[in-house]
Each structure stands twice: as structure tokens, then as C-alpha cells.
Point group: C2
């Protein structure tokens, strides 16, 4: 990997572990094994590096989510696959954790791609839920936008509960709960 790429992946990892406030340009350089001069050759500073890292995270999240949500199968099975895909539960969501960072929330350039990714996720979940309603998998009359927000919320909140417990158990418990509530009647 070249220096620019190492700087981006190191920033991704540090933002995930320590957040934006807790990540220094020096720590990024050390983790990337890149000198200060080279870092400032590629990026104007921490904020531009963070922007590149956030876009990279967002692209990855969209790619693996889309893989599950556009797979063959029922709407329920695709949502189940999305919820049960392999995750580093105790590390949580690379983008979700940034919402706890006051400097991210206060910086529109850094905040925008985080917002856009969650808007996209809720929209895609709502589309899949709509297909499920049309297929008779879910009760007619459910507001698919609300249920999509609930599903996205359970994932993010499951991470919070898991981190609080120091165990991934509450995450999987919360996921089993939403799947039981969503499950088509024939599966209950």
C-alpha cells in the first residue's frame, strides 16, 4: 500500500477506536508509518484525512449492505441476512460511533457523509420492506419508513448495549427480538 492509502486506512482504524476528538495527526502518522511531510503532501490536515476515511467507511458499509439487501430471497430473509451478517459487534459501527463526537457533529463536511449513509440505509430498508408488504410477508398498514428506522436503530443501539455489557450478547438478543416481531405469521 502506498502512503496515501496507509494514511486513509490508519485514520479509519483510529476514528473507529478513538473517535475524531481522540485522534491526533501524530497518531495517524505513527500508525501509518508515514512522516509528517508526506502526510501534509497528501492531505491538508486531520479534517481532510477524516473526510477521506469517512467516505471509505461509507462506501464499504453501502457495499456489504447492498450485497445482503439485493440478494435473492424474501424480504424477510434479506433483512435477516443484513442483521445477522458477520460484524465486529464490540467495535460497533464505524460511522455510528462518530455521531458521539462533538467535532464531527459540528463540522458539516464531516457530518454530511455520515448523515447520507444512514439516509441511504433507511431508504433501502424501506424499499425491501415495501416489497415484503407487496408479497404479503408483512402486515399491510405498517409504515415501512418507521420500521426501517426501527431496524437501523436496533443495529446501532445493539452496538451500544454490547459495548456497555462488554459482550456481544445484548446485540444478538436485540436482533433476535426485532426478527421475532417482524417475522411473517407463518414463521411465528
Amino acid at each position: 500500500m502506498d502512503a496515501r492509502e496507509r494514511l486513509i486506512t490508519s485514520t479509519q482504524a483510529l476514528l473507529w477506536e478513538r473517535g475524531y476528538v481522540g485522534t491526533s495527526p501524530k497518531a495517524i502518522q505513527q500508525r501509518a508509518g508515514v512522516g509528517q511531510g508526506s502526510m501534509y503532501h497528501h492531505f491538508s490536515g486531520k479534517s481532510e484525512l477524516a473526510l477521506a476515511a469517512i467516505h471509505r467507511c461509507a462506501d464499504q458499509i453501502r457495499a456489504y449492505t447492498e450485497q445482503r439487501l439485493s440478494a435473492p430471497g424474501t424480504a424477510f430473509a434479506r433483512i435477516e441476512a443484513f442483521l445477522l451478517q458477520e460484524r465486529q459487534v464490540l467495535q460497533g459501527c464505524q460511522l455510528g460511533r462518530l455521531t458521539a463526537d462533538p467535532e464531527i457533529v459540528a463540522n458539516p463536511d464531516l457530518h454530511r457523509p455520515v448523515d447520507a449513509t444512514f439516509v441511504w440505509l433507511r431508504q433501502r430498508l424501506a424499499e425491501v420492506l415495501d416489497e415484503g408488504v407487496a408479497n404479503g410477508e408483512f402486515a399491510v398498514g405498517l409504515d415501512v419508513n418507521d420500521i426501517a428506522a426501527t431496524i437501523a436503530g436496533v443495529v446501532q443501539g445493539g452496538y451500544v448495549l454490547a459495548k456497555a455489557a462488554g459482550s456481544d450478547e445484548p446485540y444478538y438478543s436485540a436482533i433476535r427480538g426485532i426478527l421475532a416481531l417482524l417475522a411473517p405469521p407463518t414463521r411465528q
Copy 2:
């Protein structure tokens, strides 16, 4: 308020806004209007102050949650009251946000009361759900511990979605979704 009390409430506010990593002893002193000597008279340092602030948050969360969950009414109505109580959605959960803080997660003394509060919350929600199952409000066969984790998760994740959006709308959308999924059949 005396100096000790001002130090605790100032630490609560700073932990909520900036997290543990982002809060300095100096910032606590300034917010509390208390000198360094007085701070170290009352507390050995930032970690002891944070512990007092976390216990205070936990006590407040338990008190207002218990008020809703032990009120008269159906299990559904009490859970609905818990979910729809007035909240500072964009500020999120005082304890939940600390789970994004690597120094909290790595410090067992600070981590333990955060964990204990979520364990308690899930337990209380499960007890109320159990009453609802016994009353015929919810489907028999639902795992109340899983549904309790789902409900606690939606609240925490709703905050994350709201912060990502810079709006409390996704929080209330996620809450409407879980309430629609939980609602007793006669209400659907």
C-alpha cells in the same frame, strides 16, 4: 449549590457533551467555577469525578424510567410512556454515549455502573413485557428478554440516527416503528 455538587453536575454535562476523552480537569473546574485546589480537595482527579457523575446519571435514569414503567396501565401503555417521555434526543443518552469512549470501556470502575444500568433497564422492560404476555397483550412465545433488548436498543440507536441526521425525526420514526410492531392486535 456547593462546590462538590457543582463539580458533579459540571462533569455530568461535559461527559454528555464531549465524552470522557474530550473532558479535561481544567474544563470541569472552569464550568463549575471551582479552583484546582478545591477540586482536588473533593475528588482525587478526573476519574473519581467521572465516577460520581456516572452514578448520578444512572440514578436519574433509573428514577424517571421506573416512574413510567411502574405507573398504572397496561404493559403496552407503560412501555409507550417510557419510549415517548420527553427526551433531549439530539443530546442522546448520558450513559449510552460513554460506550463510545475507549477510556471508559477500558476502565472497569467507570464501565461497571454503565453496564449495570443497562442490565437493570433490560430486566425491568422484560418484567413489564412478562406482565403484558400474562395479560394477553402480546403474543405468547415471544422471548421477553430479546424484546426488552430490542426496545432498549431502539432508544439508543434512535439517538444515533437522530445525531447522524441532525434532527430528532429518525428517533421518533424508530419509536413509532417499534410501537407498531409491539402493539396489541386490537390496536393495529
